[in-house]
Symmetry: D2
Subunit: 337 residues, 4 copies
């Protein structure tokens, strides 16, 4: 941590301040310039509150120099992490295609879609059993029954299943689930993250609607600090000032930024990002070209009757068409890089 003191700071103030800092067990390096004094702090500064130091009247500015995330940091783990999702690998050149309906509705619905997406090239099946809805009056998911239907569809197709958890105390229901998803609204539900850190399940951690990349990595760190390093990051659109034509703004520059900062795989969800099936294909292709490690797409055989988020679901035909293009761009990218 670096603190720059204002001109006119007295020797007495300086001594009091450095004494306080040394009380945290830190080494304090002082560099006096003509117009300012710079203080460098060496040691474990995580216990220091940078905002508090910045608010002191003698301090001009303060800045943390090191990243606050450790387990997720590529500096300490230069190679790409490869997450094993019950046999399907993600990251380090392995591409995830996670597809399925927003909500699990019935056995017929789910199995039908599962077969269709597998045929089109999907290697995992998604489907919501517990549904976080803005309104308490909206459909909240089939819950335990939904998970059972997912496991049936898995048996039928062999596709590992991905589904969202909303409360750590539902964990026993997720025993045979292959990948546990943390939704955008729970990205900073720290109690949930801590519990997931005690499991060894692959976790798909969605970015919060207005979470910074650093906060997102800190939430991954919550899971990893507990011992579970099987974390995949999923960008699903952020909230901006404009939501007239797309529900959110897909932040694709997060892909190269995350590739630099962390070794964890990055999956893109173009369905929630745009909220509109007509924009999903072009955003999927862009995600591939940006270097993403996977795609998560909503597919529904009858979007008009979907109980949830029908507007953003592709039909199986549209999905199959998208996958053909995705594969062409993936092959081209291999040549291009």
């Amino acid at each position: 941590m670096i603190a720059v003191l204002k001109q006119g700071t007295t020797e007495e103030q300086l001594n009091k301040f450095t004494g306080w800092l040394k009380g945290f067990g830190l080494d304090v390096h002082i560099s006096k310039g003509e117009f300012q004094t710079v203080i460098g702090l060496i040691g474990d500064t995580t216990k220091l509150d940078a905002d508090l130091i910045g608010s002191l009247s003698m301090v001009e500015t303060v800045r943390r120099v090191s990243d606050p995330f450790k387990s997720a940091n590529r500096k300490f783990h230069p190679d790409d992490s490869i997450i094993d999702c019950s046999g399907v690998k993600v990251g380090g050149g392995n591409f995830a295609v996670i597809s399925g309906p927003c909500s699990v509705e019935s056995e017929a619905q789910l199995t039908g879609i599962a077969k269709a997406v597998k045929e089109a090239g999907s290697n995992m099946l998604r489907g919501g059993a517990f549904k976080p809805r803005t309104s308490p009056y909206d459909f909240q998911g089939l819950k335990a029954e939904g998970i059972e239907l997912l496991l049936k569809a898995k048996k039928e197709t062999g596709l590992p299943v991905v589904t969202e958890i909303m409360d750590a105390h539902h964990l026993p229901l997720f025993e045979e689930v292959d990948v546990i998803q943390v939704g955008a609204r729970n990205m900073q539900n720290f109690e949930l993250l801590k519990e997931l850190g005690k499991t060894n399940k692959p976790i798909l951690l969605k970015r919060g609607l207005s979470s910074t990349i650093k906060e997102w990595l800190m939430s991954a760190e919550y899971i990893m600090a507990g011992g579970n390093e099987n974390v995949m990051l999923c960008e699903r659109g952020i909230r901006t000032f404009d939501s007239q034509y797309t529900r959110n703004c897909l932040d694709l520059s997060a892909v190269p930024v995350l590739k630099e900062l962390t070794h964890l795989p990055v999956v893109i969800d173009p369905s929630h990002a745009t909220g509109s099936s007509k924009y999903v294909k072009s955003m999927a292709l862009a995600a591939v070209a940006a270097g993403a490690d996977g795609l998560m797409t909503e597919v529904h055989s009858d979007p008009l009757h979907a109980l949830c988020d029908g507007a953003q679901s592709l039909t199986p035909e549209q999905f199959s068409d998208m996958m053909k293009s995705v594969n062409i761009i993936r092959n081209a990218l291999r040549e291009a890089l």
Copy 2:
């Protein structure tokens, strides 16, 4: 719900669409104009997905006409709700002054601050026992021990206590807590909200960092739909493009907007909103003038050593000075309205 169809919609398309709508048990009113056809839907439209309808190729635009929140809606409950917090009333002209440290640190710390804020005019005591921190390596609160210390300070001073819950399964620890706070990061932790709806405790529901006013009211609705109507709303600053000088942007226009939409009390937290003690007083006065029902302020006897958020805490002296001004403005406002 109102849907406007595009020019050129055929009779057959119209019949198929209205047939599908009637399948939801709705009355369908059709009004054909020269250039467009307007469809009005009467009945329980909560099961309809407006985005899906808007995505149909024949639909120009679709719009919900009625508010999605019911229990919180002032239309159906014109009088201000008055929430009884163990004897301290909030709303309908009753003003809450909730003050105390960000985190409970020790008995001496908490009781000292509690006495000081009571003396200065506070009628409730706040203090964090469970702390949601962005980093897993930051201080996470004293937890159960923190709640015990709050209850001791309550016994000593008679002030009802307000403290944050992070997981519904901690509820047994909150039995003697007077007001349960839901933090900004948990505003859409729907499982938590549902459990709080089954209690009869007053709930202080903080606004999410980038939650719309409607989403915030829908979260209040989650609690109220469960049977607990004792909800107070707390604005604590929203996230914008500018965070150089203040941590968040205090949205004071939320006060008159909420006063129109809902009967629930509105409390303002100028400490988290600004993140800087030097701006707290002027924002507290502005909140009073805007018509808020209460203030929630961080006070710490030794901000320099506070384990959390010291930069935004007032000293007891600063708080006492603020309260004198708050009372002058409150009296003036009574005359002014």
Copy 3:
């Protein structure tokens, strides 16, 4: 325009309101439902203030049904516009590669870069002569001299030149410039847009930092309403809550959205969007895959000594490498669509 009246609106209120509306020369269609009355307005509603109508106590909601942009609207002009930039076509399958330094600095600098980018596949040359800088103390550009240097580089290489205008009264200096750029900060400088509408120069209209897509199209409309239909749109990143790792957030979903709404070409500027040369290539590839009609990239032979925005400039070698990949993805996309 559709207005929905509240329950309990009296016949007298209704008559007064519809009388006022008819005063604007509009046809008024009234459709009374059990719970609400819907009013449809046919005719030229551009003179009506929708916000004002929405603020009337009897009005529940009001909504414009038709798009406010006309000349830019794909509905009335289904085919892609192809803009002729002194022989280089953009749009309708023709791809623009606009490259060069942020600022024109000297003849040697500019001509050197111009030759390098032409060799690598660029078909236009960019370079700033008038520079909009946040600070009055920053380098403001070589102005008239900069334009002369651009025209020299054009003569040398044959590349049409693109440069920014900041004041309509500089227009005489732009006589031989091939494409005039309007910068993000001037997107709503309506006086400037009107003057550009009187020319027949191709205009590259950058999106404002926090302008909605609709506002952007309305600014294009300002130019087109004056008679100049040679408008190209340039997305260059929008402002969000997170600017730690990228300067702005590149909104690539704007590409498919604009392709649906308008016939105008869409160019992407990954340099300003990310603010960092290391993220430019992956965002350029993503832009191509998303369906963009062109790329605008900053290239500098000596980024370390660039007078402006060196951090986001590619070296000619990096640019050449990027162009090879861009061409591979462009070819793949043709096959994929």
Copy 4:
């Protein structure tokens, strides 16, 4: 400016870097720590591009230490500036009440409103002659004729007039105008700001819709750097993710922040901020309590027929009621501080 170098930077790299920095005429202070090297730069660093330095592979972080604004900076001008608007003083305890219609429509309209607002306590008259409208098809103002009507109303009532400029080349028309307003959309129209810097007119500089406080002060600096120090700042709401109930979000914490950073007066416009007359009064009172130096409010005798922004205009009766309350809070605040 402070730069922190990464661990592992070689002596050779360090020498090359410091050599380059010295080329800008700067003193370079090097402080080597165990884990990092800190470089302090003394001298005129305004020519350095901090982003470029931050992008160098050897640099961990870089930070400007001094504010980039000088003339507007309270550090160099501790006393409040008092701006003389043709006899009406603003700042340093002097309160501006600027009121009138959004657009000048006719002599009768303007003079009627002018008399009414003067009677209610307004000390300046506002009215738009040149109107920046999002759509080229909306009413663009009476232009020169509008300014004439303003000057007639000034003669009639004695109120100094405030009106917006959209192009520096209209300046001759503004010769008798008392205060020139720069609108939000032109806050970074640097050519306009430079021209205004050559006049000695008081300038009311509105904050851009998504401009940071620092950018706003830099725009003030553009005017002041030209020699015109008569600048007043006007906050009019910023753009956020939520615009359902208010058009913008009034950022009242800008008041105490600006009071700390600058000596310039701060005026609040609650009309444009909320976009709705029903929220104007409470926001006006909050602005007063926050410490603002003035209010700018839209008043129209017939909002239903206003040609522009009727939804946010107060009637003269509502304005008079608001002013009574404003005066009560102003008196209370004097006692409270």
